[in-house]
Structure formats: C-alpha cells, structure tokens
C-alpha cells in the first residue's frame, strides 16, 4: 500500500458511487426512451381511458391503476395495524424468549420469496375464497396475500423504531401511573412514529410494486372491480403477462406503465424522505 494507491482511491470510489447513482437516471432514461413510440403518437391522453386493447391501439391504464391502488390499500390497511400490534407484542408484551423467537419468525417470513407467497395463495387461499365468493382469484385475495407478504417488514421496522425509544421515557410514563395501554399507545408509539411511518411507507411501496404474488392470485381481468371479490389486473402483472410477446407500440405501452410505476414509487420515496428529520 503506497501513496499511488491513495491517489487512485478517491477517483476510483467516486466513479463507483457515481455509477451507482447514475443507474437511476439511466433507468428512467431507458424507460422513457422505450416508452417514446407510444407517448409520441397520440400523447399521454390515450393512457387515461379504461380500455386496454393494445393491439387495437387502446392503451387505457385507468382500470389497472385503480386496481393497483386498491390492492395496495387493502394490503396496507391490514398489514399496518397488525404489524404494529406484532411489534408492540414482541417489544413489550412477550416474555423475552418468546419475543426472540417471534422476531426470528418475522425475519424468516420477511425473507420468504414473494413467489412462494403467491404460490400458497394460489393453491390454498384462492380455492378457499372461491368456496365463499367465487371465483376466488380477486382483489380481496390479492390484498390478503400482499398483506401477509409485507407484514413482517412493517412489523420488524416498527419493532426497531420502538426499540429505539429511550427506556427513561417509558419509565417516566409508568411513574406517572399511566396504564400499560396508555404508556404504549400514548408515549411509545408517538415517540416511534417516524420509524413506524417509514416502515408503513416501505410496505406500501412494496405492495404497489409487487408483481408475482399479485399476478398469481388476482385473476388478471382488466376491469374496474364492482366489488372486492372481482378479479382485477394490476400494472405490474400486466407487464409480466404481456412483455413476453409484446412488440412495437404494445411493448412501448408496457414501458409506459413501468414508467408510471417508477414515478409513483419515487413520489412515495420523496414523501418518506420528507418524514425524516433534517440532518438525521
């Protein structure tokens, strides 16, 4: 190791950092370039409609956008309170050995591939729901599977945030004679709200961007759902289903929906960044 190694260090590592950051720009650039044929002809208005018949020139993304948002909303509505409850349980309620085991289970589940959740949803949940509300593959089932998939992440991040709440704050609340419920809900959770909200936003981003788990259980019919038990097709699933054979404007149309997803998630990330305290 000599001085010449040092002279190389800064430019070399800077180039690597730059390359990593340029990936984002490159990605957006490529998405835009590939979308161009569809965007250039007919403008963005053609993507607003409900009808998706790309081979006949109908590129309406509205139904799939709405389905995407609905599935993600259902998932986060289920996963956020349950995940927070699990985090509170593991942090404050469970005996230490059980808490460690439970956290281990959550960590294991957080690592389970989404395709496995999808597979289980397809073989177990869909038939189960179908007996009650046919056809089974639906917005509802997709929401359930997604909720299950993001719950460990939400719970683990909420747990980390709760673990960072100083003991003295909780002891102070207890010393005031607050009940455990009040201590947890009025002191611990508000003190950890940033971390918890960050976890929920991350869960939401994952739910919006998930492909396989939804694709396998949502039924994939392009329509505005009349009830939660109707099959729907989300944006990500649409890409996965049609990319294999799409050419020309059709392919470009798929890239448009990819671009839309990217912008949606970037917006979410921007929002999450604003939640964080400055100079954290």
């Amino acid at each position: 190791m000599n001085r010449s190694a040092d002279a190389l260090l800064a430019p070399l590592t800077a180039a690597m950092a730059g390359a990593a950051a340029l990936l984002l720009a490159g990605m957006l650039g490529f998405l835009l370039a590939e979308s161009w044929p569809a965007l250039a002809h007919g403008g963005w208005l053609r993507f607003v409609g409900l009808a998706w018949y790309p081979l006949e020139g109908h590129f309406g993304l509205a139904a799939m956008c709405i389905a995407t948002l609905a599935v993600a909303a259902l998932a986060i509505l289920l996963a956020a309170p349950l995940g927070l409850a699990c985090a509170l349980f593991a942090r404050f309620q469970a005996p230490p050995a059980l808490a460690a085991g439970f956290r281990g289970l959550l960590a294991l589940m957080a690592g389970v591939p989404s395709v496995v959740y999808g597979f289980w949803g397809l073989t177990v949940l869909v038939p189960l729901v179908a007996r009650w509300q046919p056809p089974g593959a639906s917005l509802f089932t997709a929401g359930l599977v997604l909720a299950l998939m993001i719950l460990p992440t939400v719970a683990l991040l909420a747990h980390a945030a709760l673990a960072a709440v100083p003991r003295s704050l909780l002891d102070g609340a207890a010393a005031l004679g607050l009940t455990q419920r009040a201590t947890l809900l009025k002191v611990a959770v508000p003190a950890a709200r940033r971390g918890i909200a960050g976890g929920v936003l991350l869960g939401l981003a994952r739910a919006l961007g998930e492909t396989m788990a939804v694709l396998m259980v949502a039924g994939n019919v392009v329509q505005l759902p009349a009830s939660v038990f109707d099959p729907v097709r989300v944006l990500t699933a649409n890409i996965a289903l049609e990319m294999a054979y799409a050419t020309g404007t059709h392919r470009a149309g798929l890239f448009v929906s990819g671009l839309l997803l990217a912008l949606l998630v970037l917006g979410l990330a921007w929002f999450a960044a604003r939640l964080e305290p400055r100079h954290a």
Binding site: M16, A20, F89, G111, V112, V116, M212, A269
Partner: protein
Amino acid sequence: MHSVPGDRLFGLALWGAALSVAAVFAWLFVDLARLGLGALSWDFITTAPENAGRDGGIASILVSTLLILGVAVGVAAPVGLGAAVWLNTYTRAGGGTGRRIRLALDGLAGMPSIVFGLFGNAFFSVYLGLGFSILSGGLTLAAMILPVFIRTVEAGLGAVDDGWRRGAAALGLTQSAALAHVILPAAAPAIGAGLMLGIGRAAAETAALIFTSGYVDRMPESLSDSGRALAVHIYDLSMNVAGGDTHAAASALVLVALVACANLLAVALSRRLLTRRLAL
C-alpha cells in the same frame, strides 16, 4: 401489573394479533411441507427437470440460480463497497453531491422489481445485446441489490470508531492502508449484513428475471446461455404447468432453505472475518 380491565384487554389483543399472525405463517409452512416434502429428495436436487418440471428434479435450475446470484454479487459487492467508501470518506454530512447520490440510491432501492426487469431487458438484453442470458439476469439483479448494499455498508462505515481513523492518520498510514487493515475489517459485520440482504433479495427475485435471464430450463453451458432461476421455476410450475404443484412446493422449500442459509452464512461469515482479523 395488569389490574386495570382495559389494560388486560389491550394485552390480550396484542397476544391475539401475534398468535394469529404466527398461526397463518405456520399454516403456510405446513401446507408447503405437506405438498412438497414428499417430492423432496437428493434425486430431486441432482437430476434435471423433465416433462416441463412435473418430473425429474431441479439440478439445472439450481445451477442457473447460483450462476445468476454469483454474477449479481460479484458485480454489486465491489462496486457497492467502493461507492460506500466514497460516500463515507469523501462526502460531508451537509454536502450537496453526497446528498444527491444518497437520494438517488434511496429512489433506486424502492423501485419495483418489475421495473428493474424492464430496464434489464431494454439495456442489458437488447441494447448491450446480451439477450436472454444469465449475464443479463445477474447484472439486472446486481443493479437491484446495489443501493441497499451501499446504504448498509455506508451505515456500518459511519459507525466505525473515529478514534481508529485518527489513530491511523497520526501513524502516517495511507488512507488505503487504514481502510484495508482497520476500517473495513471493523465494518465487516455491516458488509456481511449488506451482502445477506442482497443475496436474500436476489435469490427471491422473479419479476426482474423473466425477461432478462429467461425460462430455459436446460443446464447452462456459459453465462451467455439463458437460465431459469428457482423462483421463476416455481412461478412457471404453478401458473403454466398443470400438475406442477407438488414440484412447485418442493422447489419452494428448497428456495426458502436457500435464502435462509444464505442469510445465516453471511452472518457467520462476517463474524468469522472479524475474529480472524482480530487474531492475525
């Protein structure tokens, strides 16, 4: 402690939430095991798939998966390490360039995997002419795991005691020597954790691979051959192959085990690295 009735109820609710979540996860595992354990054997691991995967095993698919992972980690680890070193060493807390790069990385980290799939297809497969290949898939996954890896390592480097840096400088060590012998070994656990996160995510990935590394289930002969990853195999068996559920479940068990092992291995490795350094 729990004399207040409301408090008791609250505690019970937490227990209820945690138990039901644990029960659902147990249900999922039991189903997977019930379906797939019967098909799981040494032969399953070591023979090639036949009859679209209904029969035979997953040997070629495991090889493709490991090759894709190898490419992804082989590219992401050095680039990510360099980028993290640069961010940690040469950017200041309030500095503009560093902040912008970190923002870009955070945006990249939240991108849906299907968007990476689109980008990988457009850039690696088509633009660079790599086609549907293990190389395309691996590079796409490298791009996908890079941001999280960088941020984890950077956080680890930031946690390294400043006294060591100043001590190294006061001894007239070069920056490269300080990094190689003191700082990076001290940050080994974070590097291991970052790798673990990356490998876990890459091994679980499906959507980013279907249009980059493809579906071909033959034994790959080189990195420019198409190769089917395990997650893609599960997807294909459960969605497109009638009667593929048993082997899909067995593959899912293998995949979950693989991801879990990768995680444990990375943790153990980072510990080993640290203790070896200590003993040198």
